[in-house]
Amino acid sequence: MVGGFSILLWIGAVLCWIAYGIQYSNNLSPSLDNVYLGVVLAVVVILTGVFAYYQEAKSTNIMASFSKMIPQQALVIRDSQKTTIPSEQLVVGDIVEIKGGDQIPADIRLLSTQGCKVDNSSLTGESEPQSRSCDFTHENPLETKNIAFYSTTCLEGTATGVVINTGDRTIIGQIASLASEVGNEKTPIAIEIEHFVRIVAGVAISIGFLFFIISVSMKYAVLDSIIFLISIIVANVPEGLLATVTVTLSLTAKRMAKKNCLVKNLEAVETLGSTSIICSDKTGTLTQNRMTVAHLWFDNQIFRADTSEAQSNQTFDQSSGTWASFSRIISLCNRAEFKPGQENVPIMKKTVIGDASETALLKFSEVISGDVMEIRKRNHKVAEIPFNSTNKFQVSIHETDDPGDKRFLLVMKGAPERILERCSTIMINGQEQPLDESTAEAFHTAYMELGGMGERVLGFCHLYLPADKFPETYSFDTDTMNFPTSSLCFVGLLSMIDPPRSTVPDAVTKCRSAGIKVIMVTGDHPITAKAIAKSVGIISANSETVEDIAKRLNVAVEQVNKRDARAAVVTGMELSGMSPGQLDEILANHSEIVFARTSPQQKLFIVEGCQRLGAVVAVTGDGVNDSPALKKADIGIAMGISGSDAAKNAADMVLLDDNFASIVTGVEEGRLIFDNLKKTIAYTLTKNIAELCPFLIYIIIGIPLPMGTITILFIDLGTDIIPSVALAYEKAESDIMNRKPRHKKKDRLVNAPLALYSYLHIGLMQAVGAFVVYFTVYAQAGFRPSRLIGLRVQWEKDDVNDLEDSYGQEWTRYQRQYLEWTGYTAFFAAITIQQIADVIIRKTRRNSVFQQGLFRNKVIWVGIASQIIIALILSYGLGSVTALSFTVLRAQYWFVVVPYAILIWVYDEIRKLFIRLYPGSWWDKNMYY
């Protein structure tokens, strides 16, 4: 409600009241016109302000509904009694108890634990559960095992601890306050609008004061000059525009919300469009965030598995005898289980109890072999050793489902080289063969190939225990391992990866062609990160890193010219030793960058580096630790599913499906809205000249006022509103994803060609057309133009009631006043009709309107209809309300200006034709906005 146009309008309103005050002190009964005008202006400012606020609030509300904060409870021991209290009432020194599933209510030091594991991903970005104990293991509080942090979750086990920090003093709280310290940068669109407001305000004020001086030196009373000043300001300020921009942005925000981009801050809609660098997370954003079986190796052959979201299409050869054994091991040597009661859920969507790899294997075998639970039931498990990090394998022993075979089956999976060590034979085509040098070599090649793809590899083997040594009644003891765990039969390798989402490669290609650099920032291992980057196209197929070049040329890394490498994989370790200058160099020299093993905090460093290069940076993030980076970024994108509340709060946008492809559709919308805002502004600015000229001509040659201030407001806030919003629905003229992101400093929203073309070309044509109508109305009523010039003083005298017109007729003051209002109405009608032509030509900036399709955007026609209907209502419905200064206009006056409207259309088509014919020419540079 302050700033920009509002200030100008406030000035106008105050000037109105001052003018009234001066009139009042000079004359006891001044007309209240000025007071009304002042009030109307104030109301306009307040209404647009309230409207903008309402729109903002609406989108904030969507957010609010998102984070339904459930008051957190903590189980605390006070006065040797366990009580549940809201966690904000905790104080340092309280003893709290935690069990699996709880959120940690404060930073606590653990006193006793039982198999306690916490998920610190929101804090450190590590996705693996961390075990907690009461041992002090490290100086660094983030590192030591005996501290659990506020807002992280306890996954399993129980623990008791003493509160050491609460609220803002917790680690999370400190990060949150760091986030709030990172200043809120102005969004690009806010800068653009400010720039635009400055232009318009500059024009308004300079013209206003120029004519103030002119009118004073032309011996007008100072009071009159002030009123002229007000009118010029009102004519110059597009009152409705800011509301229009807000509506336009919120319409786009709605459209984006449908495409899973929930925009918190309306202005961020456009920011996304001008983004030139996207720093994206890997897990969940680029990938599906679940381990999936990607490759299998058996019978000396690597097979590809389907890694798409549905996994419905497993095409590898399943006829081999080895596969039968292999699939049995996969099914049996697995502790993961489906949660009961999900019979109708597609396999891929079923919830599983078990860790990520086991889940992947379970789903994989469920898809291929059918009901795994049934298979396990038929092959009853008699003993099992779960996976642990010392053994690095998992073993289970089963009865077989073949009733004739009394042997037990031992199945094992684990780290491939550990498994291989325990094997003496290998199964090829269903036949056991001795494991010789060449097969071991084949194993290593396959292992390395799979590992090189960044995949997690598991080896599988089995052994039929001889029935004589292990009769049916044999009791297996897992502690003493009274069964063989060597000389097994190796069956195959299986590798898993968190595969990229199927829509991502396309989206990355789109970003490429749109000139947006996609940088991957992940906590994952560089090899995995690079593999995923390659598979989604962040690192394109033929580009190499410095290391790749070194390897190819067989020289040391130092000898490679860094500029030869398009791609770069930078680890967090390297990053932490870098100066900002070094980072800038990497960001500037490599077009394809992957940051691996980075901590969420380093994201901030990377974002700042990108911003130093002048880029508009979009950053995705989910953890609490990401929030400073999200805030620092020009547009922070939080993950809707995996994101923490802190991240969502710090972000400008929430990605509802966590999918990178949604960002790209958002970019498209953002770019479109920038183009369409240009059109809207061009449309709105045009009529300003037509509104301004009446005053200028009135002051200079002294004709009766062609159009009143109130009438201007009716155009700005009445007829023009819906068409200018309708321009937001315009489709893109060409593929907007094929051009570079706009340059922050060079590609302005309102540039010189736009202002000049709107003001000095179309605007002047409109003014001319409107004046023709004005003169027609006056001439037909009796005042020919020659009589009008210099008539102003006589015309406005209340006591002159026999003013002679061109035909010798005499007019009373009120009759003249009525004619003046008719003139207002005619001028208004003329501008309205020409604005119809204007909205049509503004549909496109380069293409012909006919190429764009005259009727493709239906909303434009709704806008045009609204324009006509509002104008008709004002003239014929409210024509008798004197305060509005509209009159019932003769029907023919609506059509006088139609040729001019057509002329505007034709002129603009010619302009566009030349732009298309001579791209890059002088004409293109000066006439294309």
Partner: protein
Amino acid sequence: MRRQLRSRRAPTLPHGYRFRLDDQDEMNQNYLADEEEEAEEEAQMVAMPNLEEEEKEEEQKEEEEVQDQPADNTWWQKLQLISEYLWDPEQRMSLARTGQSCSLILVIYFLFYASLAAVITVCMYTLFLAISPYLPTFTEREKPPGVMIRPFAQSLNFNFNVSEPDTWQHYVISLNGFLQGYNDSLQEEMNVDCPPGQYFIQDGEEEEDKKACQFKRSFLKNCSGLEDPTFGYSTGQPCILLKMNRIVGFRPELGDPVKVSCKVQRGDENDIRSISYYPESASFDLRYYPYYGKLTHVNYTSPLVAMHFTDVVKNQVVPVQCQLKGKGIINDVINDRFVGRVIFTLNIET
């Protein structure tokens, strides 16, 4: 340290693989199997808490930098930028344009405005060809006719002191001036004496000159200024002339000429005890209608009705309302107090 790590990792040999593969097969257990990895991780962790401090330091640095820059420096730079924009000597550019581009713009704009001017001239010209200069296209705006009085001196309040000629002399001068056109000699010379009581209709082409009916100053008798050159102001019996606004083609109802009647607007009716009207009928004779417009009806003289306020209460403000009466005359429009009526005040001091 960093270099070392890098070079050690760079060749992707089985060696290097060991490390990676090792932590891949951990199956969601602790990642920190390998010493090197652990070291790396550690470094990260240590880096984390420091970040905040680093940031603050950076901020401080920035602040210092900002403070170091003197304020006028930026102003000076801005000024330089602007002057460079206005005239850039290196590239011979003004307003960021070269001379050629500039002149091209001037030419284009000149052409554009010239053709726009041509278009508007043609339009206005045809418009005025289409509009008759003799008769206005529409006249309903100024109907019903308005009323005005003479003398008129920027105000409708007549305040004067009979014994002080200075206070009323300007009324006399104004009336004399106004009535110059009504001098009998002039009227007889220019205009025809047409029969009273009927319209003076002159058929024929609209561009033909029309004759006008005489309205002699002597019709106004005591208010003509011929017998009493002070129009009664010197005796406190002021004459006020009432004139109906001219409207092309306006005709009062046949046989019912428009009459004038005045009375006290508000207050005691007896404040005005008598008014004499000249001509005595107190009406506008039908022969002065219709009016054919300034261009052809050159010598048309508007008929007048003089009101001679012969007996008005002195030394007080008397609001007077004079109304037109007749068929087709409206005299009670709320918004317009001069349609069919005129209100003025008399304050005659003795």
